[in-house]
C-alpha cells in the first residue's frame, strides 16, 4: 500500500481535487475489457475487474507529471500512465501502484498546416483532432481503436493500424517528435524541438531516440509518460468549401460525402486472384482504405444495427462473398477520381472480380463513409458482442497476410467447432495495407463470451495456438507479445531480442517503477 506521506506529496502536486484513493473511484480504474480472459486463466470466474490502483492522479502539465514520476522514484512506487485508458494494457498490474490519468492534458498545442504536423497532448481524441484539422483541409492517422481514443497514445505507445492506413500509414511511423517524461523523471524532447523550437522531425541529431521509446508495438506505458506528440498530417481529400455536415437523427445519420469518394468491395473467387489484385492496387497508392474482413464483418461494417446486419448476411451476402477487400477511393479532383476508379475497375476485371456494392449485396450509406473516415468501423464489431479480441497481427507483406489467413482458418474452425468462439467459419480476419501498399498486417478478430469461463479459456487457448503457429512457422510477431513471459517465449526464435529490451529498461528505468507488465522488466522475471 502507498503511505500517507507519499499520498500527500502527490496531493501537493496536483491539488486535492485531482487525486483520489476512494475505493469506489479506484475501482473504476480496475475494470477493463479483456481482463476476463486473464481472470479465467487464473481459475477465477471471468471478470473485467482486475488490479485496483492505490491512487489515481490527474496532472495537467508536463512539470506535474515529472514531479509525480520523481516522487514515485523516491518512494519506489510503480506508476502506469494512460491517455483515454481503453484495454487491459492501460491499467496497473500489481498492488501498490498508482495510475496517472492524463485526461486533463488535452490541448492541441500547435497545428502547422503547411509543414503538415500537429502537436497534441494525451487526451486530445481522434475525433476532436480530426474535427479541428478539417478546417485546414488536413487529417491525421487515427488508430482503429476508435474516434474516442488518443492519437498520442497510439503514436507514442501503442501499435497503430487504422482504417485509413493505406493513405495515412501506421502510428509509429507518423510520430515526428515527442515530449517524454522518462521513468527516472527526466524530461526529454526528441528531435528538432530542442534545437529550433519546432517539431518537424523527431530524429537526430545523430541516431533517433524514437528507437528507444516505442518500436513496432509501443511500450504500452512501461517506459515513462509521453506528454506531447508531434504527429504527421495528410491532405484531406475534399473540395475547399466542404464542411462536416451531418443530419438526421440517431441511428440514421446522413453525411455529406465529399464529391470524389467511392467505396468499392472487390470480390474474387480465389485467394490467388485476391492476392494479385491486392498487390496491384497497392502498387498505385490510390486508396484511402484497403481492408478485408469476413462476410459477417462486411455486413457489420455497412449496416446500423445487429438486426440489419443479420438480414444482410442471410440476404445473400454470405453466399456471395468469397475473397474480398474493400477500398475507399477518396480523391481530391475529378481527374484523380476518374483515374482511380478506372484503375480499380481495370484491376478488378483483370482478376475476374465483381463489386459487391454494385451487385447490390451490400449498400453503404452516407453515414458509413463518415464512419470510415472517423475511424468508427471497428466499433461495429461490438454490435455482435461486447467481447472480441484479435489473434495474430504479424506485419510485413500482403503475401504473408494471405498465407496466414489460410493457415488460420482450420485452427480457428477447430475452436468454433468446440463452441467456444464466435462462428465465422474461420473466415473472420482483418487485414489492411499501409503506406500506399508497402506493408500489410493480418489479425484475426475473434468473438467470445466474456461471461463464460469456458469461452474465455477457449479463446485464450486459441490465441496461444495462434502465437505458437506464428512462432514456429514464421508468420511474424503477433500483436500482444508483451510482458516478460511472452517475450521470453518468443526470444529463441527471434534472435533473443528481449535482452536488448531489458537493457533499455534498466538504463531508462533504474528503479523499475514504470509498470512493466506489458513491457519488460529489467530482470528476467519469468525465469526467476
Amino acid at each position: 500500500m502507498i503511505n500517507d506521506k507519499f499520498y500527500s506529496r502527490l496531493q501537493d502536486v496536483v491539488g486535492e481535487r485531482n487525486i483520489t484513493r476512494t475505493p469506489a473511484i479506484l475501482d473504476t480504474y480496475a475494470f477493463q475489457w479483456g481482463y476476463e480472459i486473464e481472470s479465467a486463466q487464473r481459475g477465477d470466474e471471468p471478470s473485467r475487474f482486475g488490479q485496483r490502483p492505490d491512487a489515481v492522479v490527474l496532472p495537467t502539465t508536463t512539470e506535474e507529471v515529472q514531479t509525480i514520476v520523481k516522487i514515485c522514484n523516491e518512494f519506489k512506487v510503480t506508476f502506469k500512465p494512460f491517455s483515454t485508458g481503453m484495454g487491459p494494457w492501460a491499467g496497473v498490474s500489481e498492488p501498490g501502484a498508482i495510475q496517472i490519468d492524463l485526461r486533463r492534458m488535452n490541448r492541441i498545442v500547435e497545428v502547422d498546416p503547411n509543414n503538415l504536423y500537429v502537436v497534441v497532448e494525451p487526451y486530445v481524441t481522434n475525433s476532436e483532432l480530426q474535427a479541428e484539422l478539417f478546417q485546414y483541409g488536413l487529417m491525421h492517422h487515427a488508430q482503429g481503436a476508435g474516434p474516442q481514443t488518443s492519437p498520442l497514445a497510439s503514436h507514442t505507445s501503442f501499435v497503430g493500424p487504422g482504417f485509413t492506413s493505406p493513405y495515412t500509414g501506421f502510428s509509429g511511423r507518423n510520430l515526428l517528435g515527442a515530449e517524454w517524461v522518462a521513468p527516472n523523471g527526466e524530461i526529454l524532447r526528441l528531435g528538432s524541438y530542442e534545437h529550433t523550437g519546432k517539431w518537424f522531425t523527431g530524429d537526430g541529431p545523430g541516431f533517433s531516440l524514437r528507437g528507444v521509446i516505442r518500436g513496432w508495438m509501443g511500450a504500452y506505458g512501461g517506459l515513462g509518460v509521453f506528454t506531447k506528440a508531434a504527429i504527421k498530417l495528410y491532405s484531406y481529400p475534399a473540395p475547399k468549401d466542404w464542411t462536416w455536415n451531418i443530419s438526421g437523427t440517431i441511428p440514421k445519420y446522413e453525411w455529406e460525402v465529399p464529391k470524389y469518394w467511392k467505396l468499392i468491395v472487390l470480390n474474387f473467387q480465389e485467394w490467388e486472384q485476391y492476392e494479385s489484385a491486392f498487390y496491384e492496387v497497392s502498387d498505385h497508392d490510390v486508396v484511402m482504405m484497403a481492408t478485408t474482413s469476413s462476410s459477417e464483418g462486411l455486413a457489420a461494417l455497412f449496416t446500423d444495427t445487429k438486426m440489419e446486419a443479420i438480414e444482410v448476411i442471410f440476404g445473400g451476402l454470405l453466399a456471395r462473398t468469397r475473397r474480398y477487400f474493400i477500398v475507399l477511393i477518396a480523391a481530391h479532383t475529378e481527374r484523380e477520381y476518374n483515374y482511380r476508379v478506372k484503375l480499380i475497375r481495370t484491376i478488378m476485371k483483370k482478376y475476374e472480380g465483381e463489386d459487391l456494392i454494385e451487385e447490390g449485396f451490400i449498400s453503404p450509406r452516407s453515414a458509413h463513409y463518415a464512419e470510415t473516415i472517423r475511424n468508427m468501423l471497428g466499433g461495429h464489431a461490438f454490435r455482435f458482442s461486447n467481447c472480441f479480441q484479435s489473434t495474430h497481427g504479424g506485419m510485413d507483406t500482403v503475401a504473408m497476410a494471405v498465407k496466414l489467413a489460410q493457415v488460420n482458418q482450420p485452427i480457428k474452425s477447430k475452436y468454433i467447432e468446440k463452441g467456444v468462439i464466435g462462428d465465422d467459419r474461420g473466415e473472420g480476419i482483418w487485414t489492411t495495407t499501409y503506406e500506399g501498399g508497402h506493408m500489410a498486417h493480418l489479425e484475426v478478430p475473434t468473438v467470445y463470451d466474456g461471461a463464460s469461463k469456458e469461452s474465455c479459456l477457449g479463446y485464450a487457448e486459441y490465441q496461444d495456438e495462434c502465437n505458437d503457429v506464428d512462432l514456429k512457422q514464421a508468420y511474424g510477431m503477433p500483436f500482444f507479445i508483451v510482458g516478460d513471459k511472452v517475450h521470453d517465449y518468443y526470444a529463441s526464435r527471434t534472435m533473443d531480442y528481449p535482452k536488448y529490451l531489458r537493457r533499455i529498461k534498466a538504463a531508462f528505468d533504474p528503479n523499475g517503477i514504470s509498470d512493466s507488465s506489458h513491457y519488460v522488466s529489467a530482470k528476467n522475471k519469468s525465469n526467476e
Binding site: P23, M86, A131, T149, E371, G379, N386, D423
Partner: protein
Amino acid sequence: MTLENYEEMMDGCVRCSKCKFLPQLQIKSKRFSHICPSIEYFNFHAYSGGGRMIMANALQKGRIEFTPEMLDVLYSCTNCGGCEVSCKWVYDLEPNEVIHELRVKAVESGAGPLPKHKKYIELVERYQNPYGEPSEKRPAWIEDDIKLDEDSNTIFFVGCTAAYRREEIALSTAKVLNAGNENFRILGTDEFCCGSPVYRVGDREKAIEIMKSNVELFKSKGVERIITSCSGCFNMLRTEYPRYVETSFEVVHISQLLETMLSDGRLKLTNEVPMKVTYHDPCHLGRMSEPYEPYEGEKVEILSQVYMWDPPKPERLGAGGIYDPPRNVLKQIPGIELIEMERICEYSYCCGAGGGVKAGFPDFALWTATERVQEAEETGAKGIVSVCPFCSTNIRDSLDYRESEMEYFDLTELVLMSLEGGE
C-alpha cells in the same frame, strides 16, 4: 428492475469512454465534443456514465460499499442521459438506467440520497413541492385576465418550479393557451409535485406513491389531458409514470401544442421579434422523454456467441424525444432567426440542473450551465430559448454570473411577443 438484473449488462462495458462524448459522428469541434458534464467537471473516470456503471458493478459484486465519497460521485450526475445515447449507438448498454438503479439501491439501503435531497423530499411530502412553499401560494402567478375553463377535462399542470420560481413561464403559457382558445383549467392549490425530484435521486418508493396519488387526483378531477410547460413534469408524466402506474391521460408539452395551434391557424404570429436565437433542448423533453416500450423477451444465441433479444427489443436510442416542435414554432415567429448550437437534439448538452445536482452541487450546476451558455454565445445569437423552468433557472444563473449579454426566453414568452396584440 434491480441492480442485479443489470449485472450482465454492466459486465459488458468495454470502458471505451464513448459515453463521455457526443455520438462520435456528431463531433464538429474539440471545444464542444463532450456530452457528460460530470466527467468534464470532476475528471475521474467514475464520474462518467460508464464509470458509474463500473461503480454499480463493483457494489453489486461486493467490492465496494456505499460511503459518503461514493455517494458524492453517484449524485454528481445530472441524470441527463447523454451517456446513454452515445453508448447505445454502438452497444447494448444503458448506463443512465444503471445510474438510476444505483441511486435506488442507495436509497433502499439507507445510504442515499444526500442530505440536501432528503431535505427537499421532506418538503415535497409536507408542502407538495420541493421549495417548501405553501400550497396556497401555488396559483399566485395567475393574473385576472387569464381565462380558465372549470369544465375542461384538460389541465395545465403548472409544476412546482414555474408556480413558485418561474412564474413568468406559467403566466405566458396560460396566455398563449388563452390566445389559441385552448380551454383548460388548473389544479390550483391541489396540484402536487410530479415527483421528479424524488424519483431522480433514487427514492423510487416515495416517487411511486406520489405518482399513484397524482393519478388518483387526476382521475378524481376528471382529467383526460395534461398540458405542461415544464420538461421535467412532462418527462415524469409521459415517460416515467406509465412504467410504474396505470395512466389514462394524454400528456402534451406546450411546444407540441403550440405547433398544433399554429398549424390549425388558431394562433397567428404577426409581430416581428427581430432576434437571433438559439435553442437549448432540455434533456427531459429531448432524449429522456422517449417512451419506454414495455418489453418481455429473452436473449437467444443466433450465431455462436452472438445473442439477440427474441422478440427484437425496442431500442430506446434517443430518437423519440421532442425535438422538432419547439424549433418549428420558433421558425414561425416573424423576425426570429434560429441558429443551432453544435450540441442539439438527442446529443444536446445538459443545462446542469437536473438529477438533484442543483441542490447537491450548486457549483457544478453553475459550471455546466456556463459551458452551455458559452456554446450558445458562440452561435452569435442574442437569445437563448428553451422550454423548461428548471433549465431556465440554471441558465439564468449562469447568464447573471457571466454577466452575459445574452437573454433567456421561454418559448412561450417569444410566442406571446409575436401574437397580435401581444406584449
